[in-house]
């Protein structure tokens, strides 16, 4: 019977060097569970897209990503592994952690852009030049004496960040890796400015109390 429909053969597993940690039978890099004995497998080195079982593309369907994450994380709910052995509990918890990491990296457009670029291009932040806008915003922030002035900087930086993410996505879709790389550096600076705004504003609020 097994020869008729290939019950003992798994797609992509026949040549795989990986084996299940428990039953030692062939295991797929993609599999969460061993299809021979059903135990949770250790986290393997696969890309975020494969971990979530979604198509590898920069403009992914976020709703589908959410659904996949929800369904896969339910399967790895620690409550369901309480009565299992330590090895399986540890694997389930690490699988869940890896899944969450992959989800968060893909859910956020900026992090996804950074990840996508890392998959396709060697990103060198040191080579990117600081744009005048960053210098202007930094100067404006350093002279801001009131919370409202900080908010103005935050608003400008926020808008620039939003526009920058759109530009980044366009560059990534068009495979303009150098442009995407410099946009990413620009976005990093904008994020750093937003962080500084938050700190300064918080200091101002505390000082006024």
């Amino acid at each position: 019977m097994s020869n008729v429909i290939g019950l003992n053969e798994f797609a992509g597993l026949a040549n795989s060097a990986l084996t299940c940690w428990l039953c030692q039978k062939p295991a797929s890099t993609r599999a969460i569970f061993c299809h021979h004995c059903g135990t949770v497998q250790p986290v393997r080195d696969i890309d975020h897209f494969a971990r979530l079982g979604i198509e590898r593309r920069i403009d992914l369907d976020v709703e589908h990503l959410d659904h996949q994450y929800a369904a896969l994380s339910r399967t790895l709910d620690p409550q369901r592994f309480l009565i299992r052995g330590m090895g399986e509990r540890t694997n389930a918890s690490k699988q869940l952690e890896a899944l969450k990491g992959a989800y968060e990296a893909l859910r956020d457009p900026l992090r996804r852009g950074r990840y996508w670029l890392s998959l396709h291009h060697e990103h060198d932040a040191a080579q990117a030049e600081m744009q005048p806008m960053i210098t202007e915003l930094r100067a404006e922030l350093s002279t801001a004496a009131e919370p409202v002035a900080c908010d103005r900087v935050a608003q400008k930086a926020g808008q620039a960040l939003e526009d920058g993410i759109m530009g980044l996505m366009q560059a990534l879709r068009g495979q303009e890796w150098e442009k995407a790389s410099s946009t990413l550096v620009h976005l990093d600076w904008l994020e750093s400015i937003l962080g500084d705004v938050r700190t300064k504003r918080s200091d101002m609020t505390q000082a006024s109390r």
Binding site: N3, V4, I5, G6, L7, N8, E9, F10, A11, G12, A14, S28, R30, A31, I32, F33, C34, H35, H36, C37, G38, F49, A50, R51, L52, G53, I54, E55, R56, H67, Q68, A70, A71, L72, R74, T75, L76, D77, R80, I83
Partner: protein, 374 residues
Amino acid sequence: MIYLDTNATAPMKPAVRIAVIEAMERWGNASSVHRYGRTTRRYREEARAAVAAMVDVKPSQVVFTSGATEANATILHNFAAMPVAVSAIEHDSVLANASQAARLPVTPSGILDLMAADEILRAMKPGLVSVMLVNNETGIIQPVAELAVIAKKYGHKVHCDAVQAAGRLPLSLRELGVDALSLSSHKVGGPQGMGALVVDEKLALQPIIRGGGQEMNRRAGTENLPGICGFGVAAQLAADDLRDATRLTAWRNELQAELVQAGGQDTVVIGDTAPRVANTLCIAMPGVSSETQVAAMDLAGIAVSAGAACSSGKVKISHVLRAMGYGDDVAGSALRLSLGWHNKQEDIARCVSAWRDVYQRAKNNQYNRSTQAA
């Protein structure tokens, strides 16, 4: 032999087989108070939790049945005294249990016609609407969540036959907005003769099989422990099937492109403009009956189906394709190829090669017949 008929039944996964065998070696009635009963009950509940996790519900919402047919029959019998509407492309297990039901049409692309559904449901007194999430013949994904919003507006309960969606789409009873959902174990690599009806907590389900308090008085009869344990493992492993969808999509698309190239303009791909699950391809070769194709492919070592697999094994013209507006030339020559966890990439090339031979022979026969007639 290459098996491309996963939508009829998926080969049982080895871990499932082990779970079934282990369960057969245990005895004890889950209703018994003693240790044997308690052990059995623990295994049953572990499996219930796995099935519940697959569809995002509490374990208490899962009622184990003998299969999806019983699950469908149970929910439809619960609404036997009320108006019922079902889609025109439902599985026979729904249609046969709702012969008087209003039929919700589908568009030529195979998707439920939501505007027509709105009109029909508005005119209907509150009752039940039953629509499948993924069609078994075409793999087309139906807008069940959108339909549920419409149905709720008019006070209807909604049931979804999600048999072909399990392991292919992430499932959530809550997000679909339905009151009940049918599942089948053997479509996700579990044992045959096992299924579940998943119900909303507020739905007071009456059993159609009486004579015991099992399944919280919702389905009488001593539980099929081997089936339940196997289903539980299969439900858990279905997470890996979800992860596999991208690979299957690529293979299915390759298969589709190759078959269209081999068949040329004669071939009709059914549902290619609609959202489909990754594993299913429904393709017609007008002029060659489905029955002939299935038999010829079987001789060539490829197991495929002509659409819905009937209990008798006979091939009948698809009511699904008819509902989509196809004539008998297309509906009578359609082939369903459905991939699964067990397939390998080389299966695609072998299937294409076999289909090309079948097509060529059919063309030659047609040519010979026409020259003889001339």
